[in-house]
Every structure is written in C-alpha cells, then in structure tokens.
Amino acid sequence: MDFDLMLRVYPFFIEAAGITILLSVLTAFLGLACGALGAAARLSRFAVARFVGAAYVSVFRGTPALIQLFILYFGGPQIGIQLDAFQAGVIGLGINAGAYMTETIRGAIISIDKGQKEAARTLGLSRWQAMHKIILPQAARLMVRPLGVNLNMLIKATALVAAISVVELTYTAQRYIGSTYKPFEMFLLAGILYMIIIYVTGRAVAWLDRRVQIN
C-alpha cells in the first residue's frame, strides 16, 4: 500500500469531503421539507392529498435513486429542465430522501396514543392546535433516531452523484485513480472520510436524541 501517495493527495480529498458535506446538508434540509409535506399529505383528511402522498412515496422508494438522478440530469433538458450537476444532485437526492422521511415522520405521528388527541380535542383545541401543541412535540422526540437513520442513508447516497459528474468525494477518488492507477488507496481514503462523516453525524443524532427525551 502506498501511504506516501495517500498523504500527498489527502488534502484534495478533504476538500472534496467538504462538497460531500455541503451536498448532504442541503439534501437533508430539502428531504426534511419534502418529508414534512409528504407526511402532511398522507395524513390529510382529503383523499386526493392522501393519494398524492402515497404515490410520491411509492414512486421514489420504488425506483433506484440513480435512475431518478439520471432522469433529472440527463433527461431534464428534453422537457425543459436545465440544471447543473450540483443542483440536479441536491434536488434529486432531496426528493428521494423526502420519500423515506415522509414515512418516518408519518410513523412517529401515528404512533402517538389516540388518547392524546382526544384529550386535546375534548378541551376545545382545534385539529391544528392539537397537532401543533400536543401531537407534534411528542412525535418529534420519536422521530430523532429514525430520521438519523435516514440521514445516514442520505449521506452515503451522495456518492451516487459522482455518476452525473459532481466533484464530490467519490468522483474525486475516481479522478485520482485515473492519474495514479491506485484504486485501492484512493477508494480506501474516500471510504475513511465517509466513515468519519457518518460517525460524527451518528454521535450528534444520539446526543440530540438524549437531549429531547422527556426526563
């Protein structure tokens, strides 16, 4: 194994890891927004909204994220959607992650005991007030860990955007293999950096989870 080479190129990998982190953060926010909307749709009292929510989840969980990215980035221009690779990566991954988060958020909300809503409505709270003041604060605490799992998956999924030439960690590794012919070292270096990112986020999620629990 060529350690000297790894030491020489790692600053460039660190820079690329920065892009991976930026991608992850933007994707996570977009995914959370899509997930909140999706969960609201799936729990709506309107059948049309419930159908749209369910269709969103089954389409985006039912097809490979890579195909979704290809359709958006390569197929997009054909139907008038012009995005650069980074934009397509964030939007494509964000919508994909949102489908998984929809189910996480919905699951947490429906797992709150029915008696909570009944008690709130009995006091005279409206549907929205009961949701906002009683259900969501409890559901949010239950969401932290499973959303952490979604985040873990999403960070790893950012490697896919290398296929539409976003210069992030995986793409950078491939590029250096082209000039060094050392795939073992280059992919190992990328893998180590992914693991550090995942480890730190995992710890942050665990900390947050402990903090928000009641007592």
């Binding site: 006091l123 005279g124 409206s126 009683i134 409890q138 009641i214």
Partner: protein, 256 residues
C-alpha cells in the same frame, strides 16, 4: 337557556359501527347540578353514549343538547369544527387512562388550554393552576411531569385540567378503572367534592358503592339500550328488571 330540567338532553341516540348497532334509540335527560351514573356490562354502549355527548364518537342518528344548544348540529365542516370546539370547552372529560400530556408538567397540563383558548396571561394561568391543583390536592406536585406521578395523582391532575376550562358539565369515563385499588379513593374524594359543589356530572363507572353514594340517578345499560333507570336506592336495592338483578348479582360476586 337556564332551563334546569333539560340541562343535558340526549334524544333518540342511535349509533352503529358498520352493521353493529351499539346504541339503540337512547334518550336521557340530566338536570343542572344532577349526577347521573351509567352502569352496565362491558360492551353495553355506556362509554359510547358518554363519548357521543361531546361528539368524540358522533351519533349515527339523534341529538345531544347542552343548556339549550345542540352539540351535534349539522353544519358545514369548518363551521362545525368551530362550533364543536366551543361546545367542548363547556364539557369537561376525564378518561380511564388519564391521557395527560407527558411532555408537560401538571401546571402546564392545566394551563395549556385556558392560555391557548381563553388568552390567559401567565399570571392568570399560574393563579388558575394553583387554584385547580389545590382543589384536587396536587398543589405540591405542580411542577412534576406525569411520569413522576402515581395513577391516582395523574387522574387528579386530569380532573384539574378539565375543571380549568370551567365546564358546565363533566363526563367521567371509568375514571377509576385503571387505578390500583388503594388509589381509587383519592379520586373518588375529588369527585365527591365536585358533587358537593353541584357540578353536573355523568359518570360511567364500575364502582357500585361510589355510584350509590353520590348519584341522584342510575342508568343500567345493556346491549345498547337503557334497561332500567331510577334513584340509586331503587336500582341497586330493588331493581325491577331481571337483567339488572343478574348484572348486580354477578358484580357483587366479582367484588368478593
């Protein structure tokens, strides 16, 4: 509006879950300040009847009236929501499993709705929490979370929470059924106190002794109908109907 004799009225209540008819044409009148107990075997429809009064379980047919206003009016969705939220503020409810909000202290459980719906200031809300929690003997635990309280204490906080909205009517849905036997009395004492203050109450219960000691009237329900109705000394001591006798006999055996 201040018609004492028809304070709460249930008229021809009928309710079906699919093909199962759980309430079959029930009518019931409760006068202001009266305390009515509903007893009967499980599955008799007594909880469903209680939950129909504040429209938690809407009736299939029939009307519920409180103090001259129809609770289950037929209105377009949004107007109905507004109407029912206003009506529910006047109808307190206490549940078998307390349903306290676990992310809030006793104080916050009591003050949440009055602050939100009646715009109480923090000072007013604190005064209200003190008053209501003192009434149920829970003032010492005002800043405790539900998880730090015993079942009896939880139920007393839940009663304080309902009372904080100054309801005209209180509904108790087996308020002591989930409690350890030694904790039942502290909740019953609170309900007795309310009775002395002439709160109008409808109580679904399995506690025959308690029902006999506080109620003005007892309804015995079975299979969706009111089998027998009258003052407790008659229904408990001298029931007319065989079904009532059979139920009470079974219940007494169960208690031994």
């Amino acid at each position: 509006m201040t018609d004492h004799s028809n304070f709460v009225q249930v008229r021809h209540a009928q309710k079906s879950f699919g093909t199962l008819e759980v309430l079959k044409d029930i009518s019931l009148t409760v006068e202001r300040g009266q305390i009515v107990a509903i007893i009967g075997p499980s599955g008799s429809g007594k909880s469903t009847l209680l939950r129909a009064i504040n429209d938690l379980d809407p009736l299939t047919r029939g009307e519920v009236w409180l103090d001259g206003v129809q609770v289950n009016k037929s209105l377009p969705f949004r107007q109905y929501e507004k109407h029912i939220n206003e009506m529910r503020q006047k109808i307190g409810m206490v549940f078998q499993h307390f349903n306290l909000f676990p992310h809030m202290t006793a104080r916050e459980n009591v003050t949440m709705a009055p602050k939100m719906l009646k715009g109480l200031s923090n000072q007013q809300a604190d005064a209200l929490a003190n008053e209501q929690l003192d009434k149920v003997g829970m003032l010492e635990r005002i800043d405790y979370y539900p998880s730090q309280l015993s079942g009896g204490q939880k139920q007393r906080v839940a009663i304080a929470r309902a009372l904080a909205m100054e309801p005209k009517l209180m509904l108790f849905d087996e308020a002591t059924s989930a409690l350890d036997p030694e904790l039942v009395d502290e909740v019953n004492q609170v309900m007795k106190k309310l009775a002395e203050e002439h709160m109008t109450m409808i109580i679904v219960t399995h506690e025959m002794d308690f029902a006999a000691s506080v109620c003005d009237r007892v309804l015995f329900m079975d299979q969706g109908v009111v089998v027998e109705e009258g003052p407790p000394e008659v229904v408990f001591k001298n029931p007319e109907k065989d079904r009532t006798r059979a139920f009470l006999r079974k219940h007494l055996e169960g208690a031994k």
